[in-house]
Amino acid sequence: MDEGFLKEQQVMESDLNSETSHKSSVDFLMDWFRRRSIFVLAYGTGCGAIEMPPTFTSRYDAERLGIRGAATPRQADVIIVSGYCSYKTLRRIIRTYEQMANPKYILALGSCTVNGGMYWDSYNTIKRLEDYLPVDMYVNGCMPRPESILEGFMALQKEIGDGKISSWQKYEDNYAFYRKNQEAVLGQTVAPAYDADWYLYDGGL
């Protein structure tokens, strides 16, 4: 009973009588809609991307939980950082994350995003992802199997349903901290400043 589809079923049903029933109906509905329609950006870094196709295709069929792919950052809710990030990849991840619309979540896979993993002494790989971006959920393993990824997703869904996650808010509030860390490894040319309205530059629209 501790693994497989029965466990997943249990996790899905466990919050039916949870403590969050005091929320207003609108909040409850919004969170419910959000947790049941998670669009995952089709983007993979590192070796963990290889576990995502089985997660999303018929063997594990993430769509039965409302998790499916999205083609562009503007349409996506979740970005999966699936493994080690080199500096060069980090720049792209930051840029992609900043293009996504709120609410947005980060799911980090593998030991590499936690503490560098087997790349702990690499000159070109960041060690702690959460220094640079706000991570909502870590799924550990090297690599995590699709079951683990699904369980990570369900934990994320539960937090979304409870209205507990606001990492994008955290990113905006502590932007100076994140930007400082990003500039420390990427130099001054990280990405355009996050709070800048690009359409106001160069004369604007």
Binding site: K88, S122, Y123, N124, I126, R128, G187
Partner: protein
């Protein structure tokens, strides 16, 4: 072929590393002449790779050009040494176009200059300003410690060696106690 190369370039013996792989070390001013000769006369038409090895104790880089014949049955390693300080060697792009990207790689990883290569820009790193990372004086761990931070261990993190010793002692004691109890039990049953 071996005799020609030896007479003309007066180097050490040609090493037969495998039946399909030869190796020769030449002076740096003769290496391009040898490569042209191999290409024109002996059908070594493909440049497979340019590799570099950092011999920091002998103060030089060993640059190796690996050539292969058009029937893919023979390979030839042509090696030369260049000084580590201000390392530079002429580009091979005018003969083999594919040398461009290999030279870019060496330029990025070892800081070797290739005069004649028109496109000597960075290949896989971005905005790298430190020592080229594959030179042996570059200390990777020191770089990581200076530039990146590790997560501290979890709360209640324990010394693994100490903990293993403690657990082993505990297990031993438990085993001894179990044995003793068994012996006592058998003694009691014998008494009965």
């Amino acid at each position: 072929m071996f005799a020609t190369i030896k007479n003309r370039f007066a180097t050490t013996d040609i090493e037969v590393k495998r039946e399909d792989l030869y190796k020769v070390v030449v002076q740096r001013d003769a290496i391009f002449e040898l490569i042209f000769m191999l290409r024109e006369q002996y059908d070594y038409q493909t440049l497979n790779a340019i590799t570099c090895c950092d011999w920091i104790e002998e103060e030089h880089f060993a640059i190796t050009y690996i050539l292969t014949t058009s029937d893919r049955k023979q390979s030839f390693m042509v090696q030369t040494m260049i000084g580590r300080e201000d390392a530079q060697i002429d580009s091979l792009t005018h003969t083999f176009e594919q040398a461009e990207i290999m030279e870019r790689d060496l330029h990025e990883m070892y800081g070797i200059d290739f005069p004649g290569n028109q496109n000597l820009v960075e290949l896989s790193l971005e905005n790298w300003v430190h020592t080229p990372p594959l030179r042996r004086e570059f200390d990777t761990l020191e770089f990581v410690n200076n530039n990146l931070s590790f997560r501290e261990g979890r709360d209640g993190n324990m010394d693994v060696k100490k903990e293993m010793k403690r657990l082993r002692a505990l297990k031993k004691a438990q085993k001894a106690a179990a044995k003793k109890a068994k012996e006592e039990a058998s003694e009691v049953s014998d008494g009965n």
